[in-house]
Symmetry: C2
Subunit: 337 residues, 2 copies
């Protein structure tokens, strides 16, 4: 075994590169959050990450315990004029209508088919649940996954005309990546359907299916033509909202997050649970204050109502992100994606 | 900026090490499964791992989809003369007895307190459930975690006198590590209690809490002295056994495993679900054939009964590990841990 002079010199070059990379001789400080304006929100986030990752520091947290949880609707992507999953439900009712002639005269389906969303939702939660079950159950998990993939690839937001997956918040994409680069495991904890999110969260957010927690319906294992399938049943299993969020976090993750990000009263208990733990904690609320670039809403909104959680942010030491002032941009530029 | 001669020479040394590591000039083939005897079982496992990790190969699987699921009782650790969690239940009944004077005359508690396990379990599933609820509910998740940590640190197996966490199978520890070294994410999918396993699976198996799936009871978020807690309720939420295993896998992981390891009919549907997917798949059953070093049991065992799954292993193409012949050692040597 021998090493030629050329190989030796290459090895030395590799060594120098290695040396520079490790000791940072030429390192320039790179802003990991370029879409965040300088200010208290950004400063608090960066200070928290530095504190929990500083070896030997008093707030150091082992990588395994660096768990961060994110609400989805209104926190990672937009949620106006209604939850994006509602668009999915209405589109599915229309697609399934030929198989259900009775829907023409049966509420809330009839209103949906006439395009009258407001009338369809008059029946409140019960009506929405009926629509959800009619569109989310009765097929296998594999079939449902394909339905979601097909829909998300073509559906467009009524106001912006953009695919829903491009109405994600660029500053939050940077935040997800920044946390992961610092050893965090990032989870989604959403009131939305778990199987509605999983087919695209890895591609869009870098969050794999096993790190997505959401509301779910029951499934049943059975054989169909000798092949094992999981059938989706028209029966709620778990609602991952409000006091359900800490329950869902415990069931899926089994340890308490050290950072939690939300935007509404539905996230109140999740932030409470995460920030009540010992050691350094970060609770963040995204406050929708930007009527021009996105939407402005809080206490009186029927979607994403932010009231009690906003009042408690101060006493709880949570950071309230002012979208208008704190975010340089809202959505990713299509070219950049 | 300058580099001293000493730094340069160190950089060169680093470069050489880097070169050797990358190009493997001095590499010796190391057996990743030293406690497995050469044979068809080991050969199949290694061939599968090589096939799914070979870049450009016809069976290549992207790292994100390399999901492997493991049953716990009888697959990763022993399960005789009864599931280890049953020892926990009986110990807890004894510990809690002073607070429950009525247990002295109330079955199945009275039999447990007299040390008569057989009589205690005469009531079948109903009796066991009553004992489980009395010992697993009524405290917070944090309190229960500590109870498990304290118990597992001190409890001993009646036959071997060893801590239960040392009655894990050395060949399976190697297999877990081997899969992870090849980009797999390893999950536990057990009929046992999810919160009974999570406090120690990371230390013992290298499987973090968020990759543990098991049976669970309901929890409820509430405030106690102003602090948020999750109370454990005496009500089953999910039974992660038989047809429940694919359901649990889908709920927690959201994609189909490509490899599944079990040892009993309780794992039948899990292996069926995993191996019915497209592409290369690995289904493995651990067959307890070693009366001398461990236990020998299958079709007629009340614990870990292996009957239907054993019959179907051939037609399904599953690998049956013959513990007596395939495993060089059973438990880790205490010195090695």
């Amino acid at each position: 075994m021998f090493l030629s002079a050329s190989l030796l010199s290459r090895a030395c070059a590799a060594g120098l590169l290695f040396f520079v990379a490790v000791f940072g001789l030429h390192a320039q400080p790179v802003d990991p959050l370029p879409s965040w304006n300088a200010g208290i929100s950004k400063a608090r986030i960066v200070a928290f990450v530095q504190a929990v990752t500083e070896p030997g520091g008093k707030d150091f947290v082992a990588p395994a315990d660096r768990i961060a949880v994110f609400d989805n609707d209104g926190t990672l992507w937009a949620e106006q004029p209604m939850y994006f999953q509602a668009f999915f439900i209405f589109d599915r009712v229309k697609a399934l209508a030929p198989k259900h002639p009775e829907w023409k005269t049966k509420e809330p389906f009839a209103s949906v088919l006439r395009g009258d969303v407001k009338a369809a939702l008059k029946g409140g939660e019960h009506a929405l649940m009926e629509l959800a079950m009619a569109t989310h159950a009765g097929m296998t998990t594999v079939e449902f996954e394909q339905i979601v993939i097909d829909w998300i690839a073509t559906a467009r937001h009524p106001k912006t005309g953009r695919p829903f997956t491009e109405m994600v918040y660029q500053p939050m994409l940077e935040l997800l990546a920044y946390l992961r680069a610092n050893g965090f495991k990032t989870f989604i904890v959403s009131g939305g359907g778990i199987e509605f999110m999983r087919p695209w969260t890895e591609r869009v957010y870098g969050v794999p299916p096993e790190q997505v927690i959401g509301s779910s319906i029951k499934t049943k294992f059975e054989l169909r033509d000798g092949q094992p399938v999981l059938m989706r049943l028209p029966q709620m299993d778990f609602i991952d909202d409000k006091a359900g969020k800490p329950v869902g976090i415990n069931a899926h993750i089994g340890r308490r997050p050290i950072a939690a990000f939300g935007n509404s009263d539905g996230d109140f208990q999740m932030l409470q649970w995460a920030t009540a733990g010992k050691g350094a904690r970060l609770g963040v609320l995204v406050h929708h204050t930007d009527a021009e670039r996105e939407y402005a809403y809080d206490r009186n909104s029927s979607v994403g109502r932010l009231d009690k959680a906003l009042d408690m942010a101060g006493p709880q030491g949570w950071t309230v992100v002012n979208m208008k002032n704190d975010w340089k941009s809202i959505y990713p530029t299509p070219a950049a994606r």
